[in-house]
Each structure stands twice: as structure tokens, then as C-alpha cells.
């Protein structure tokens, strides 16, 4: 498995990145850890005549945790997330999810930016970010803009980021309440058969807010507003969970693959969501 030849760039700053992107348009791609892109290039499923390596561009490797928000630079790896104690207490769902991504070696290289930016429906971070109502900061020739994660994904590998823009950071409002990231997969290193990210706030025995997003059950991650709404105002009893699952099932649109047929995936999506809700509620 040998990729086609390409020109390689390792600019020192974002201006350098943007000028190459401007010059080559969609013939150029930025790369962080490369663990999504390089296998595609080796299989010659991605043609990248101009490859821009972001490793020398500063300012994208920090995790900043404040009382009301979290900023994660695009070059922060899954390993960094797992390793960061401040993050683990501010948003423990991030660590719980990151531990379920790929394997140790891949987590050293795989970045948050790469995971959310490339639009692969199998990636775990996009759904998670939708659950957390994150926004992605992208920068282009026109300057910087923030795109809500819930508006970012259009179709498989199609996102609201323009070809000439670079995703530089993820901004997350400090999550409240209980959490769970529940994922069923065939083995280590596999994408999800179904995964659910749930964040629930409880007050006096009833649910005051709930956010639910699903992974690898459509050609984009699915933020199910109705599923969350079905829990709000309830004691998250069996009826409420059933309603949430029904709402979620109305939003997803899985396709058959080696992981199984559609009926199976829908069923598992429901089971996984139930478990995620129950676990999040128990932690709320």
C-alpha cells in the first residue's frame, strides 16, 4: 500500500498554511496526526497532491479549562485528553470517549481537530461535540469564525468548513450534570456499531436538561434534540427513556455494513442509548 506522490509542506505558522491552501484549493489538504488521512492515501482512496503538515504551526496544542468553558486546540491528541486531569474533572465524558477510540498508538497521534474536521461518520468526537454543544473555530483568508458542531456536518466527509479554511480549536461550554459515552464495537480499533453521548442535568429528582448525540448511525453524527427533550421534566423513568429512544430512532438513518443490517443497528442504538442515559442519570 503505497500512496501517490505529493508535495509536502510543513509551514511554521497559520499564514503559511492559508497561503498554500489558497494557492492549491482542493488539491491541498491539511494533516495533523494523519491517522485518518494516511490510510486513505495508502489505499489510494484519497488523492492529495499537496499535503500540509500542521505539526510546526504553534498555538493548537493547548487545553484551557476555565469555570465556564473549555478550549481544546486542534492538535491536541486523544492521548493528551486522557492524560489531562483538569479536563477529566471539568468534562469527564471526553476521557470516557477518548479511551474508546482506536488503540493506544493511534491515540498518541490522532487529534481532536482531525477527528472532528474530516467528517468521517465513524469518528467518535463529532457526535460527542454535538452532545456538548461545542463550536469549532476555523480560520481562513477572511479571518476566524466559529461554527456550532451541531451545524457542521452536512454529509459523509462534507462539512461547513470551506476547503481553504483550517479548523484550529474546539470550544466547549463547561458541561453540567451526569455524563456517559457508550459505544458498541466489534473489537479494539473498530468504529462504532452504535455509540451514544449523553449529558444530563438533574435537579430535585427531575431532569432539567439533556443532550443526546449518536455516532455512526447516519452519514453524519446525529444530535437528537427531541431525544433530549423527551427526558426533560421527567424523572428519567422507563417511559421517558422509551420516549427518548423513539425520538432518537426517528432521527438516525443507519446503513447496512459488515457490522450488521439496519434493523440490528437500530435496535442496538436503542439499547446503547438506554444504557448511556441510565449511566449519565446515575452520575447526575
Amino acid at each position: 500500500m503505497i500512496p501517490a506522490a505529493f508535495e509536502y509542506y510543513r509551514p511554521k505558522d497559520m499564514a503559511g498554511v492559508l497561503s498554500i491552501l489558497e494557492e492549491h484549493g482542493d488539491d491541498a489538504r491539511v494533516m495533523a496526526g494523519g491517522h485518518s488521512l494516511i490510510p486513505m492515501m495508502k489505499l489510494r482512496m484519497a488523492d492529495v497532491p499537496h499535503l500540509i503538515d500542521l505539526q510546526d504551526v504553534g498555538g493548537m496544542s493547548d487545553i484551557a479549562v476555565t469555570a465556564d468553558s473549555i478550549r481544546i486546540g486542534a492538535m491536541v491528541t486523544q492521548h493528551d485528553i486522557i492524560d489531562h486531569d483538569g479536563l477529566a474533572s471539568a468534562a469527564p465524558i471526553l476521557r470516557e470517549a477518548a479511551l474508546q477510540i482506536a488503540d493506544p498508538q493511534v491515540r498518541y497521534m490522532g487529534t481532536v481537530g482531525g477527528n472532528v474536521a474530516n467528517g468521517d461518520p465513524g469518528n467518535d468526537m463529532p457526535g460527542l461535540m454535538q452532545c456538548l454543544d461545542a463550536a469549532f473555530t476555523v480560520v481562513g483568508a477572511e479571518g476566524e469564525r466559529d461554527i456550532p458542531a451541531r451545524d457542521f456536518y452536512e454529509a459523509a466527509y462534507m462539512t461547513a468548513r470551506e476547503d481553504e479554511e483550517v479548523l484550529t480549536a474546539v470550544m466547549i461550554p463547561a458541561p453540567q450534570g451526569g455524563y456517559a459515552y457508550e459505544k458498541q464495537k466489534r473489537k479494539i480499533g473498530d468504529y462504532a456499531t452504535a455509540a451514544a453521548a449523553v449529558q444530563i442535568v438533574k435537579d430535585g429528582g427531575s431532569c432539567v436538561s439533556a443532550s443526546i448525540a449518536m455516532t455512526n448511525l447516519s452519514d453524519t453524527p446525529i444530535y437528537s434534540e427531541d431525544a433530549g427533550a423527551a427526558l426533560v421534566g421527567t424523572s428519567v423513568d422507563d417511559a421517558a427513556i422509551k420516549a427518548a429512544i423513539a425520538a432518537m430512532l426517528g432521527d438516525i438513518d443507519p446503513t447496512e455494513d459488515n457490522r450488521g443490517p439496519v434493523a440490528f443497528k437500530k435496535h442496538v442504538a436503542g439499547v446503547i442509548l438506554r444504557r448511556a442515559i441510565e449511566r449519565a442519570w446515575s452520575r447526575a
Partner: protein
């Protein structure tokens, strides 16, 4: 001297002979990154070859345009069938008596088939060259279902239909249809039908043993180097049978066999994948001859999974009959075997379905009949024995499933049903209804030990409680108890009935004792992780009384090793291990004469004792083997020629029949299909145990490959013949996280005909493990009416079983 004062016990320990867990001598180089695998071979001016492969499963090739590819910088040549045809090398013989295209000759028959071979200065240029070759295909109707193949008008193999439309016989007799390869029968058809027709109870089941792949971590590859000055071809490669490869290369290339040197360096796992001959080998040899330079070819993982050596793909239909009390009276089995586009199975010539006729298993079944139909489809060729002797995994899976189905039919405990049907200890040697003579066994002892160790009664009680809890809505988890009792048939084999391409399946060992009492032994086998350098030295140490640490074992170089048929089908210990012991005994016989001379007594007055010959009745008078070795070379002994060497070619009188009892306890999440193996107990009886540490390691590994096959590993095709499982994302190789700890145990029932009583073990855990895991899954659903579901039992298929049984309602 130290040994003179050591106790007998110390002297035995000092040898590190049979029965001790000697640490492996191979490990120093492997743990330090100094192994030497084929892709580590680097020669001056070496070129790199790789294939243009067909994206289609069935297509006619209209044209191949290599012009642009030849212009790619670094590309030196592009070979197509047209280039090979004048050499007669565009097709090659398969191990199964069929022939196979080396490069597509007018059409392709499976996705990934080799179409052209690009030779370049490095891998990168070769890859760019492949992209630049333009092939025009005309798609043809694809057949991936062997039953449809047998009814279709579409002719897959036009070369096997005569001009008048008649069907010439195949290598194994008459063919029923243009997509049919052979029919093979064993046993008595009419009596079996009669027994079943008149039986009190009959259980019937159809099962599909899915297509999978051995997938060793190292793919297949080779380096061919034609030395035109000396006329000598050297071929390094991942060959499980280097001598057979040399003979095959000689036969098809016309190069005399003495001018071919085949070297199997370290091999990164084989499991059957590296037995066959592949187009890459032929093309590398041709490319080296054409360019005058060494040429390397190494598969990538997709090539490996898509094109070389699948395993299984057996559609099996069984009927088993019994009395009301459960005594089995008859067994009928029909197999439709999907062989893909060419019949490239690696089986002994007389056995086109391998040893599938061991399918009466461990049971005393008086009457049986087996019929196998081989069929062509648009899938990759192969049909190798993936970590088993020829088709034994299929056979054992079949009978162990039929037993379970019969137990359901009889409403009987499956452990008890096995017990009352086992061949009894006193019946050995036992001639089975399908012809094999089982050498030795004590099945009842093994089974009772296994059931007692796991507290079988207790497990069944726990399972019954779980079913109650499930029905009461207290749990969504079911518990399966998987049982499996297997008899392997390994050590192919007696030359009278076992050959491959006419090459008898004996094996060999050549020993040279050095004057100072160390030794080198060379064998016709080749280790792929089994630790031959460690264990064969142990056999020799016990036989010739020199420490294993003083014995070098060498394999895999046809210029130095004696002729042998290689390592697969657990044949190394049964055949080459026997040759080693026999050659050792020749050494000992000569040593006895030398010792007698040195001790000035008659030959009959000395006897062997661990590491020396002693005068009978006077143990203080002795000569150590070390002393004898020195004398053999350096002392003129009347009537005895100098030196101490021996060769043995061993033609085994029979196969060996290792057996074992496995029990798996599994929890199953009914809602997601996720399985959790809570306990796995494996009792193996491989006869005499040479190195318990290595045996245990083999069992762990074989069980893990069994787990993979039973729970998810498959080569799956869509209707267009596209391989859906071409990378390790989808082809299931478990990691440490998915694998349980195993409990191992043993009994010892030596083989009566093997010189040291050993039977072989490497493949038993795979053969016995697959039905054990599968039975555990199926047993979990027995209380809800499940009879049989096909493997692989991945999450969605288990979910489907639960769903169809109404467990999600």
C-alpha cells in the same frame, strides 16, 4: 569431570531433553529485532515486483496497455500472460491437480486476480507503474454461490470444457457440470441410508462453515535471484514446504533441481497460508531471469486476504441416527465445497476433501457415508488447512454440531450423549466406519476429568437458574456452556496413501555429531513459530545423550537440509520428530559399538544411561557420549569407520490421533449480541509431551485463532464478488482485549507407533476450539428452541438468533 559426580537426576536435567519446559533458543534474536524474515533479505541491485490486480470477480480482458507504465520513472518491465506464454508459465499446476493462471489469460475469475506484474527499482515506482497500466475489462456474470454455480449456464472455466462441449474428467474423476470439480466419497452409501431410514431417532442439520483466512502477521513473499553466471537460482520465501517448492519450481521452469536453492528464512506465522505456490513466486523468478537482477515480491495485507489461500467454505448437510437411548447408529454427510476459481487446495493427492472423512469424530459410529462435491465459483482459490490437518476443522465442527443437534432431538444432555458414544479405550486401535485406524485414545478419562474440573453439574444448574431469571425479566444475559470433544488426524503421512503432486509425505533428519560432543541436526521441516530449534534438540538430547544446548537445529535451506515435505497439518513432530528420534537411535547404535570397544567389553554388555554407555552391572565403568564422540573421530577403531553421523527418512506407518476435551462458559448479552467468555478449559492429549511450555503456548494460540473464526473472522463477498473484508478493520483478528485467559490441562496417551509416542499439538486447539466456542453460543439459546445457527457468531448474527427466537419482544 563434572558429569562424573552429578547424580543421575542432575544428568537428566543437564540434557534439557524431552519433558522439560526448555526456554526457546529462537527467542534471543526475535526479542532483539534480529530475526531474518523474507522482507529483511536485501540484495545488491534488487528490484521490486508487484501486481496489477483485477477489480472484477469475473471479466474478460479485452486489452492490456503497458505503454504508460513503462514510461513511469523506475519501472523496468511489465509482464503479462503474453510474455509468460512462450515459456509455458502463464499457467501453473496447483497442488490439487488443477491448473491456475499465473497472470490473467484472457479472463479473470476472482477479484484481486493477478493481471500483470510490474517490475521496478523500488516499491514506490512499482506502485506508480501499477496505476499506469490500463486494462480494459468486459464484465461477465458473477457467481459466488456454489449451488447456483452447479445450475448456471455460465462457464467459469472454459479451459475445462472440450470443444464439443463435453466435460473431460478432472484430476479426481468425472465431473457432473461445467462448474463442478470432483465428487469424492468415503464409506458405505446404501447401508448408511438403510440404517438411517430404519432408525428410532434421526437428527438432520445443514450448516455452513464460512470462508475465512489464516492471515499470519507476515504476508507471503519471496526474493528470486537468478545467477546467470553459475546458472543457479536462489529463491528465498515464506514457504512452509521449501523442498516441495524447489521441486515444483524445477518442474515448471525446467531449471534442474540441483541448480535451485530454496531458502525459507524465519517465517512470521503460517497457519496454512504459506503451503501453496502463488503467482508471485513464478513472476519473481521470471522477472529475475528476464532482468538478470534479484526481484522481491511481498504481498500487502489486502492482497493477502483477497487472493492467497482462503480456508473452509464448506456447506455441510448431515443426518445422524441413534437409538432412543442415544446410541449412535449411523452418520451421513454431504459437502458442497466452494473452491473458488481454481482448485488450489493443499491436500494429499488422494484426498481432494482432505481428511474430511474423520467426520465420525471421537464416536463409535458403526455405519457412515461421506460425499463431497467440489465446485468452482468467482472467488479466490485456496482451500488450505488453516491451523489444522487437511479439512479436519470442518470435520470436527460438523460432528460436534451434529452431536449437539442429536442431543436436542433426544432431549438429552450433550455431555452424556458424547460419553455413551465415545470409542472405548479397549477398542484402540480402532478402525472407523470411514476408514481411518485411530492409534490410541482414552476419551472417557479425559472427558470425566474435564467435566469434573469445571463442575459441569454446577454450571448446568447455574445456567438453568439464569434461564429462569431471564424469563422472569431479572436479567438480559444468557449463559452458554460450550462442549467439544475432538479427535485430530495429523502427521501426514504414510507414503502409501499420502503424497502431494506425487511427492511422498515422509520427512527427514540428518545428524552430524561434532568431535567435541556438540551436534547439528537438519530437518525437512520449517518452523513458523513452533519452536523447532528448541524442541527437536530436546528429542535428540534424550535420544543421544548430548545436552540440547549443544545441538543446533537447522531447517529451511534446501541445499543443506534433507528432503522433506515441510511443516503444516501438525506433521512436524509426528513425522520429522520421528525421523529425528530414529536418526538419533542410529547415532546411539554406533556409539554403543564405540563405547564397547573403549570399555573393552562386548557390544551387548553396555547399555545407554542418560548421557553415557555403562557396562551392565558396573555403572562406575562408562563412557560419556562426549567421550564417544571424540573417539568416533579421533581413534582408530577396528571395523568401524570414523565419524558420527546419521540420516533417517521416516515414512510413518499411520497417522497420529491427538484428542482433547474443551469446555467454554460464555455470557451473552441478548440485546446487543455481545459475548463474554467467562471461562475456557482445554484438556489436550497429544501423547508424549516434549516441551510443556511450548505445548501450552500452542494451545493458547490455537484457541485464540478458534475464537476469532467462531466469533467473527470471515472473508465475505457481496453478490458482485467484491471482497468485503479486505483489511484488518473488518477481518477480525482479536487483540489482547478480546481474548480471555485459558486454563490448560492434559492427559498422556502415547501413540503406539511413533518412536517417542508423540502425536502433535499445534492445531488441536483450533480444531477443538471452533466447535467449543460455537457450541457455547448455540447452547445459550437451546432453552429457547435454538437448534443451529451458522458462524461466525458476531454481534449481529447472535442478535438475529435472539430476535428470531422472540427474545426481543
Amino acid at each position: 569431570m563434572k558429569d562424573e559426580v552429578d547424580s543421575r537426576e542432575d544428568r537428566v536435567a543437564n540434557l534439557k531433553g524431552m519433558g522439560c519446559s526448555r526456554k526457546r533458543v529462537e527467542d534471543a534474536r526475535f526479542t532483539q529485532g534480529k530475526g531474518n524474515y523474507v522482507d529483511d533479505v536485501k540484495l545488491d541491485g534488487m528490484l521490486f515486483g508487484d501486481f496489477v490486480r483485477s477489480p472484477y470477480a469475473h471479466a474478460r480482458i479485452k486489452s492490456i496497455d503497458t505503454e504508460a507504465a513503462l514510461k513511469v520513472k523506475g519501472v523496468l518491465a511489465v509482464l503479462t500472460a503474453k510474455d509468460l506464454e512462450p515459456l509455458g508459465l502463464h499457467w501453473m499446476p496447483t497442488l490439487a491437480g488443477d491448473k491456475q493462471m499465473v497472470l490473467a489469460d484472457g479472463k479473470v475469475l476472482f477479484q484481486g486476480q493477478e493481471v500483470a506484474f510490474v517490475v521496478a527499482e523500488d516499491r514506490y515506482a512499482a506502485a506508480d507503474g501499477i496505476e499506469a497500466v490500463e486494462v480494459e475489462y468486459e464484465e461477465l456474470e458473477v457467481i459466488v454461490d456454489p449451488f447456483k454455480a452447479m445450475e448456471s449456464d455460465v462457464v467459469l472455466r472454459e479451459d475445462l470444457v472440450a470443444e464439443d462441449g463435453s466435460l473431460p474428467d478432472g484430476a479426481h474423476g468425472p465431473r457432473k457440470h461445467h462448474n463442478h470439480i470432483f465428487t469424492w466419497e468415503a464409506g458405505d452409501k446404501e447401508p448408511t441410508e438403510e440404517v438411517i431410514a430404519n432408525a428410532e431417532v434421526v437428527a438432520e442439520e445443514s450448516m455452513y462453515y464460512h470462508r475465512t483466512h489464516p492471515c499470519p502477521l507476515e504476508t507471503c513473499g519471496c526474493v528470486a535471484s537468478m545467477d546467470k553466471v553459475n546458472g543457479k537460482l536462489t529463491l528465498w520465501g515464506t514457504f512452509q514446504a521449501p523442498h516441495a517448492i524447489r521441486t515444483v519450481v524445477s518442474l515448471i521452469s525446467g531449471i534442474e533441481e540441483h541448480n535451485i536453492r530454496v531458502i525459507s528464512p524465519d517465517i512470521g506465522g503460517g497457519f496454512g497460508n504459506k503451503v501453496g505456490a502463488y503467482p508471485g513466486y513464478v513472476c519473481s523468478v521470471v522477472a529475475s531471469i528476464v532482468t538478470g537482477k534479484p526481484v522481491k515480491w511481498i504481498e500487502d495485507r489486502m492482497d493477502n486476504l483477497m487472493t492467497t489461500a482462503f480456508a473452509r467454505d464448506y456447506w455441510m448437510k448431515g443426518r445422524i441416527s441413534a437409538t432412543k437411548e442415544g446410541k449412535i447408529t449411523g452418520l451421513h454427510c454431504h459437502v458442497t465445497a466452494d473452491h473458488g476459481g481454481f482448485d488450489a487446495c493443499a491436500d494429499p493427492t488422494k484426498f481432494p476433501a482432505g481428511f474430511m472423512n474423520i467426520c465420525t469424530g471421537s464416536y463409535d459410529i458403526p455405519t457412515a457415508f461421506l460425499e463431497v462435491d467440489g465446485v468452482y465459483t468467482n472467488k479466490a482459490p485456496g482451500g488450505v488447512s488453516y491451523r489444522c490437518s487437511f479439512r479436519v476443522t470442518e470435520a470436527v465442527y460438523f460432528i460436534e454440531r451434529m452431536i449437539e443437534v442429536l442431543a436436542i432431538e433426544l432431549n438429552m444432555d450433550a455431555a452424556e450423549l458424547r460419553r455413551i458414544n465415545f470409542i472405548k479405550k479397549e477398542q484402540f486401535p480402532y478402525t472407523a466406519a470411514l476408514g481411518w485406524e485411530y492409534d490410541s485414545g482414552d476419551y472417557h478419562t479425559a472427558w470425566d476429568k474435564a467435566l469434573k474440573t469445571v463442575d459441569y453439574e454446577g454450571l448446568r444448574a447455574e445456567q438453568a437458574q439464569r434461564v429462569e431469571d431471564f424469563k422472569a425479566g431479572k436479567t438480559r444475559s444468557l449463559m452458554g456452556i460450550g462442549l467439544s470433544f475432538f479427535t485430530e488426524i495429523v502427521g501426514a503421512g504414510p507414503v502409501k496413501n499420502c503424497d502431494i503432486l506425487g511427492l511422498g509425505m515422509f520427512d527427514s533428519c540428518e545428524i552430524r555429531i561434532h568431535p567435541t560432543g556438540s551436534a547439528i541436526a537438519r530437518l525437512g521441516t520449517i518452523s513458523q513459530g513452533q519452536g523447532h530449534a528448541t524442541t527437536f534438540a530436546q528429542i535428540l538430547a534424550s535420544e543421544i545423550g548430548l545436552p540440547a544446548d549443544s545441538i543446533t537445529i537447522e531447517e529451511g535451506d534446501t541445499d543443506t537440509a534433507p528432503y522433506g515435505l515441510g511443516t503444516y497439518g501438525s506433521r512436524s513432530t509426528p513425522v520429522a520428530g520421528a525421523a529425528t528420534a530414529m536418526a538419533g537411535r542410529k547415532i546411539r547404535a554406533k556409539a554403543q559399538m564405540i563405547a564397547a570397544y573403549l570399555l573393552e567389553v562386548h557390544d551387548d554388555d553396555v547399555e545407554f544411561d542418560v548421557d553415557r554407555f555403562v557396562v551392565k552391572g558396573a555403572p562406575e565403568r562408562f563412557k560419556t557420549m562426549k567421550e564417544i564422540a571424540f573417539a568416533a573421530y579421533n581413534q582408530a577403531i577396528p571395523g568401524i569407520e570414523p565419524g558420527l553421523e546419521a540420516v533417517s527418512y521416516y515414512d510413518p506407518p499411520n497417522m497420529t490421533y491427538p484428542f482433547g476435551a474443551y469446555i467454554c462458559v460464555m455470557d451473552i448479552d441478548v440485546d446487543t449480541g455481545v459475548t463474554d467468555i467467562r471461562r475456557f478449559y482445554a484438556l489436550d492429549d497429544c501423547g508424549t509431551r516434549i516441551n510443556p511450555m511450548i505445548i501450552e503456548g500452542q494451545v493458547h494460540g490455537g484457541l485464540t485463532e478458534a475464537l476469532a473464526v467462531a466469533l467473527g473472522q470471515e472473508i465475505a463477498y457481496d453478490d458482485m464478488g467484491n471482497v468485503k473484508t479486505g483489511t484488518l478493520m473488518d477481518f477480525f483478528l482479536p487483540t489482547a482485549w478480546e481474548v480471555p485467559n485459558y486454563e490448560t490441562d492434559y492427559t498422556v496417551t502415547p501413540s503406539p507407533h511413533h518412536p517417542i509416542g508423540a502425536k502433535g499439538v499445534g492445531e488441536s486447539p483450533h480444531v477443538g476450539g471452533v466447535p467449543c466456542f460455537s457450541n457455547a453460543v448455540q447452547d445459550a439459546f437451546r432453552a429457547f428452541g435454538n437448534r443451529h445457527t451458522n458462524m461466525p457468531h458476531d454481534h449481529w448474527r447472535i442478535w438475529k438468533t435472539a430476535n428470531e427466537l422472540g427474545l426481543h419482544d
